[in-house]
Amino acid sequence: MRALALLAFAASCGSSDCPTFIGDPAQAPAIDMVTLDAAFAVHTAGDGSELALIRPPQGGKIVLVGARARNVCAGPIQVTGAVTDLCTGRVVGLESRTVLYVAAADGGVADVKEPAQISSYANVAVCPNNVAARDLDGEPYRVTVTIQDKLGRVAEKVITATPVCAEPEDERECRCTCRAGYANGDTCAGFPDAGPPVDCPADGGMP
């Protein structure tokens, strides 16, 4: 009961530095990773999840990753998403942006103000990709989401997930431009017979 009272107090009474704190300021911030699918539905992402590769207005293919957070200051939060090759350790896509967070309906979690908008998530561009050693479609990658609120409180979540081409009308083009070795401007005319996929190096290449 005492803890609940503290939580409610913390959630409703902020300071000049943080008008609206969500959760318990005495606790470390924590996040659940979320992703937006091709139908703009939000899903919690964890190990083994699939991440939709979608075509954004800017072109190419991106995955959309973000966070629901606890014990953070609501308002503008910097959200960073990164996709890293498990084999080489190289980051194949990274984006960071400032997103507005508000108290979710239950009051205990900070969620993005506009959950159905792609601008509420890190737009991690992964295709075409000039450094990927493996296909981006259908292969597992390490996915990292980090948040930092205006108080400087930081939380991070790391999972292994698999980007997959998720828009049927675009699937062939997606699989072509997300294959290892594809370069901007290459033709997809010969795809999928353009060559075998590149396997993970035997030594893993992990740093």
Partner: protein, 353 residues
């Protein structure tokens, strides 16, 4: 003599002489000493009040080496004041710009026309960019690092894009004109200059979220490259543009010691040339990390106010959000122009969107 004397008296006393369309400013000109390279000059053109003019000119590189490829080791770009940017790209995939029926000139005004649509040059490698808009020194004159040069082929098609603004955030005091000089190098086997053109396109600078920061990364396929020059580009809401060397594996912003470029002036960003290559090598498997910081400001009534900004917002948030786009008054950019060497086949000219 009498006439001259009268002119001298008139010039020294009484009403000032009428100011011509160039107000005494001498239009930029090609370098007469560039006798064996490539030269291009646009006509002089007007930029009416409350307009943004973006034109795309197409040219074919000349044959300077008996049908063989050749090199260019000095670039001189001149822009009359009022220039927002001038870009030179190598033409690759033709979408809706540079089609045969369009000829060599495509005109755009206030966001209308194919010359304004960046998807039309999505895979066109950057050659050069200047954002100088100075009456006192309207030229970018860049002697490439020793032993480094651009490679061109005879007949290779280039697109020269000019963008002039005469509105509230930027003005064109005289008339528009742009010149390009590319100097034929005598080097026979130089290291090739490569370029990176990187943009953050899914940006929003909104009234309810007025100080956003956007970060992106772009990696080189191989190591061993040296950064020769860099420039950033955003519009009037931009407050700070930084570029860092990045190790290619970290997911946190590199330390301040790795920052090699900073712009705090959106309308006169420093084209930073690194004369000393020491310390400009990119880590093996690394690349660059760049950041664009913004401060939302109310759009001017002359540019249409928030109604004009909201009309561009595909998200229809009605939050006066500036989004990615070429119109200086009502949209924003977050673009990196970077030059590096040696360009190798597996890296090439890089675009990161």
């Amino acid at each position: 003599m009498r006439t001259l004397l009268l002119a001298a008296v008139l010039a020294g006393c009484g009403d000032p002489a009428p100011i011509g369309p160039d107000g005494g400013f001498q239009d930029v000109t090609n370098d007469p000493a560039n006798t064996n390279g490539f030269q291009f000059a646009t006509p002089v053109f007007d930029v009416p009040q409350s307009t943004e003019v973006q034109d795309c000119y197409f040219v074919n590189m000349p044959d300077l080496n008996n049908g063989q490829d050749y090199f260019v080791d000095r670039v001189r770009l001149g822009t009359n004041p009022g220039s927002h940017h001038m870009n030179v790209f190598r033409v690759k995939t033709i979408v809706n710009l540079g089609t045969p029926d369009q000829g060599n000139y495509v005109h755009g005004v206030n966001g209308q026309g194919e010359c304004f649509k960046s998807g039309n040059w999505g895979d066109w490698p950057l050659v050069a960019n200047t954002q100088i808009s100075s009456a006192s020194n309207p030229y970018l004159d860049w002697h490439l690092p020793s032993g480094v040069a651009y490679r061109f082929s005879p007949g290779e098609r280039l697109m020269i894009q000019t963008h002039y603004v005469n509105a509230s955030t930027q003005t064109t005091p005289y008339r528009g004109k742009v010149v390009v000089d590319l100097y034929h190098s005598q080097l026979t086997s130089p290291m090739e200059m490569g370029t990176v053109f990187a943009t953050e396109q899914s940006i929003r600078v909104c009234q309810s979220n007025p100080t956003p920061s956007y970060h992106g990364t772009c990696a080189f396929k191989n190591g061993g490259v040296t950064i020769a020059a860099a420039n950033g580009h955003f519009h009037s809401r931009g407050t700070e543009f930084d570029i860092f060397k990045w190790d290619g594996t970290s997911t946190t912003q590199p330390p301040a010691a790795d920052r090699f470029y900073q712009s705090l002036t959106w309308d006169d960003p420093p084209m930073t040339i690194y004369a000393n290559p020491s310390g400009m090598q990119v880590p093996q498997n690394g690349g660059i990390w760049w950041t664009c910081d913004y401060q939302w400001i109310a759009p001017s009534p002359e540019s249409g106010g928030c109604d004009a900004v909201n009309a561009r917002d595909k998200q229809m948030a009605n939050d006066c959000c500036y989004t990615f786009g070429p119109i200086v008054e009502t949209s924003e950019h977050c673009n990196v122009f970077l030059y590096y060497y040696p360009k190798v086949a597996s890296s090439g000219d890089i675009t990161c969107f």
